[in-house]
Symmetry: C2
Subunit: 149 residues, 2 copies
DNA sequence: CTTCATGCAAAACATTTGCAGCTGG
DNA sequence: CCAGCTGCAAATGTTTTGCATGAAG
């Protein structure tokens, strides 16, 4: 709650500073992402926004998501088959643990990665600007269900 | 060359063993993937196959790719915005280094990852079955071009 | 007031699917 | 022969775009 309010204020002031308008729909999308509850898809955000603003369109949701993405305020977790999921709580690259069954995504930290990036840069001459690490598996809850059902 | 012939024979015998037909188009796709030259997209494979079999369709290429994917013989590197790229030389998960400018992809090894997966499994109770690590950056060649052009 | 955002519908794009006809084993 | 493959075209699912209308600042 604490952190998410900080993130919300941060995103809003950044938008204002860059002279983007804070419309009710946009505010709603930003709130959902800043709250950092889970890793919603565009459709999930859309469904949430429609509760308050029933006329909202999915296109508007995508436009706001892209705005925040370009500002570096949210992390897009894109998948080639499923739709993208968004992480608004921590826009810096960090590993994710993805349940292949229920699609839940959880964050975790791996400080070793930045060192690894530096290593690779030195060895290959690449300038590393970003990275992504996903672990795919079955979460404890889904493992339970698997055994019984 | 040596390794790629071994991979080709391996893939072909696996296909035969499972009673899949080795059609000329299919053979051609398998050859390209087994050769392990780069990380082609479906379109690139398609363009290559059409040189020998001009009537080939993209759908057929996708069907063969999916077949090999299901058999665990190739690795799909899916991206949400760009099209997927395929790694036929080493179907076991391994990190990739991706140039954001020229889109070239190079493989590398990171033995630390399997240990990391075990760690996560122990800490979170997840059963880890797969992972993916990509580093995004600019390759030495593209860095050169950047400075001049 | 003016510019930017919205909402709709259509487009874009990669990938998959249904199906009639062909062909490898 | 005939199950399985091919090639076409149409469908799919996600995301983007063009444009007329509407509202934020």
């Amino acid at each position: 709650m604490r952190d998410s309010n900080v993130r919300l204020e941060h995103m809003l002031s950044k938008l204002k500073r860059q002279h983007f308008r804070i419309t009710p729909q946009r505010l709603c999308v930003v709130k959902i992402l800043a709250a950092g509850k889970g890793h919603p898809s565009a459709e999930e955000i859309y469904a949430q926004v429609k509760k308050d603003f029933p006329t909202t369109s999915l296109a508007t949701v995508y436009k706001t998501i892209n705005l925040l993405k370009e500002m570096g305020e949210i992390l897009e977790l894109g998948f080639s088959h499923d739709s993208s999921r968004y992480d608004g709580s921590n826009p810096h690259p960090h590993p994710h643990l993805i349940c292949m069954r229920c699609k839940r995504i959880v964050d975790f930290e791996a400080p070793a990665l930045t060192g690894m990036a530096r290593d690779i840069s030195r060895k290959t001459g690449y300038e590393i600007v970003n990275h992504r690490l996903d672990f795919f598996g079955i979460c404890p809850e889904c493992r339970e269900e698997k055994q019984s059902g």
